[in-house]
Symmetry: C2
Subunit: 106 residues, 2 copies
DNA sequence: AGTTTATAGAACCAAACGGTTATACATTAG
DNA sequence: CTAATGTATAACCGTTTGGTTCTATAAACT
């Protein structure tokens, strides 16, 4: 599964949103998604790791997941090619959306 | 289907790559993808349009598709929130990937 | 008016996706 | 050593996706 497909699922994006604040163990992420089971979270994490969007390290029985910006940088590079004829108007839209994203709860 | 899901398919991304150079009729896009049928291309275009990634206008029996940067700007805004702790190293990666993308055939 | 051209929609199908429960496997605790 | 904890994997299942062929619709020739 490539980067784009990995990002297609809203729950996986939500996981990245949590990891951007700080690293988390698999268990913490399971708690953060009461709607789905532990194996479901585990599979999402596998997909994010395979896509190069997160890193994982082992700590005792825990698996600690961290954001891996490289995958997102590739996506950013892909978008850059479309910015050639990006209207000025959209830069302000972008800033606006960016600001809203900043105002979020844990 | 949201922006992220719309971009998850490599053929739809390839269609955007073609449209970034110039607008194309549905028929031209069908010719550009010999691997799949006309209705398949038509469905991809529908998805891109619903996601706000392309615009369409009617010209005689033809449907002319153009890139609609707004959808991509939203994606760009989403990524921006992760750039907070973007290592400097990745900016050069981004520039490198960007340069490679520039060197492409029709 | 009738035919051709350009494209979308309907109906259908196999493969992929995201979920579940049950199980395996380390590592830590008792 | 044995039990408990943390997490991944296996097996399975319904839904979605992306493809197909067939058909419908509308504009443009002749």
């Amino acid at each position: 599964m490539d980067t784009f497909s990995a990002l297609a699922d809203p729950r996986r994006r939500a996981m990245l949103d949590l990891l951007v604040k700080r690293e988390r163990s698999a268990g913490e992420l399971v708690s953060a998604f009461p709607g789905i089971s532990q194996p479901a979270v585990s599979k999402h994490l596998r997909i994010l790791k395979d896509a190069g969007l997160v890193d994982m390290r082992v700590h005792a029985q825990q698996r600690i997941y961290t954001l891996q910006p490289k995958g997102l940088a590739e996506l950013d590079a892909w978008i850059a090619k479309y910015k050639v004829f990006w209207p000025d108007r959209l830069d302000s839209l972008e800033r606006h959306l960016d600001k809203n994203k900043g105002a979020k709860k844990e």
